[in-house]
Symmetry: C2
Subunit: 151 residues, 2 copies
DNA sequence: TTCTGAAGTTAGACATCTTCTAATACAGGA
DNA sequence: TCCTGTATTAGAAGATGTCTAACTTCAGAA
């Protein structure tokens, strides 16, 4: 089975690994990482102070194109990058602070009937749960979180 | 039951309706509308040439805050605005041209187990299907669309 | 080792999308 | 009509992401 760790996967692909690319890949190590490009840049600079924004964006875009990195869209604010592309999972996004939590995909994802798809060639499904994290719920004066209600 | 038409809903709410706001609301009438802010501005200007960009953004943001308008996120490019908030439906987004198609939600949406939600107060679920529309599939030299495969 | 071409990196300009600011205009109640 | 709060406006500014052109580094050939 293919390694689940980003750096190992890149090595296995014989991706040309410069110091800059390694810094980006290292920052993105881990399973529950959802950083913005800016955050990646800041963290990468701690390892390699001279790394430029353009290189970070170039690298992120390449990794996405290679399928080694997924984009998580939060609606507000910049894109987040998720290195966990091997384990299918969904996301739970806090509407208050935009924190993201991974949610394992227990049931098979929903499907579109052929007629509803209307000739579209489907390539993927994303499920995004919206809500308030415990802290934001408290800040909004809402009761402790237990109920789930469909929107 | 609440009216499904945006303008009627706004009237029912006694929303202060200026000429500018009416122009925006009229542009957004319909069930399968997924316009960008720029497109809303352009169309609104056909009715009211002096309407400003800031007013369009203000109005869209208010409508979203009121829950009368939903944001559809396409990952690339600007946000789209969807006035159909009464009929639960999902979206099918073309990765090539960013066209959006509404998909009726036939099966109940997936749920998160309480433990996976980890204290989040859930407010909604979105399902986004990604794929290629018939034209983009053809342009990419892909076969006619019938198969659906999970990512 | 040195050369060479391809690929990677960089700073900064630029493009795009959205929000903010401060001034002005307007709507509806007293 | 006047007053007060809200809506609107142009343009500046902010946030995010991409492009350009020069420079550097690397891998392989000689």
């Amino acid at each position: 089975m293919a390694p689940t760790d980003l750096l190992s996967r890149l090595r296995a692909r014989h991706w040309r690994l410069s110091a800059q690319r390694r810094a980006v890949a290292e920052v993105l190590a881990g399973d529950h990482v959802h950083l913005t490009a800016e955050q990646v840049h800041d963290l990468a600079r701690e390892r390699l102070p001279e790394i430029s924004r353009a290189t970070v964006y170039n690298t992120l875009n390449e990794l996405v194109a290679m399928g080694e990195l997924a984009i998580v869209d939060v609606v507000d604010g910049p894109k987040r990058y998720d290195p966990n592309v091997t384990a299918h999972h969904d996301h739970l996004v806090c509407e208050g602070c935009h924190a993201i939590r991974d949610v394992p995909r227990s049931t098979p994802p929903p499907r579109v009937s052929g007629s509803a798809a209307g000739g579209f060639l489907l390539t993927g499904v994303e499920v995004t749960y919206r809500g308030l994290c415990p802290e934001c719920a408290r800040r909004h004066g809402l009761p402790a979180a237990h109920a789930t209600r469909d929107r």
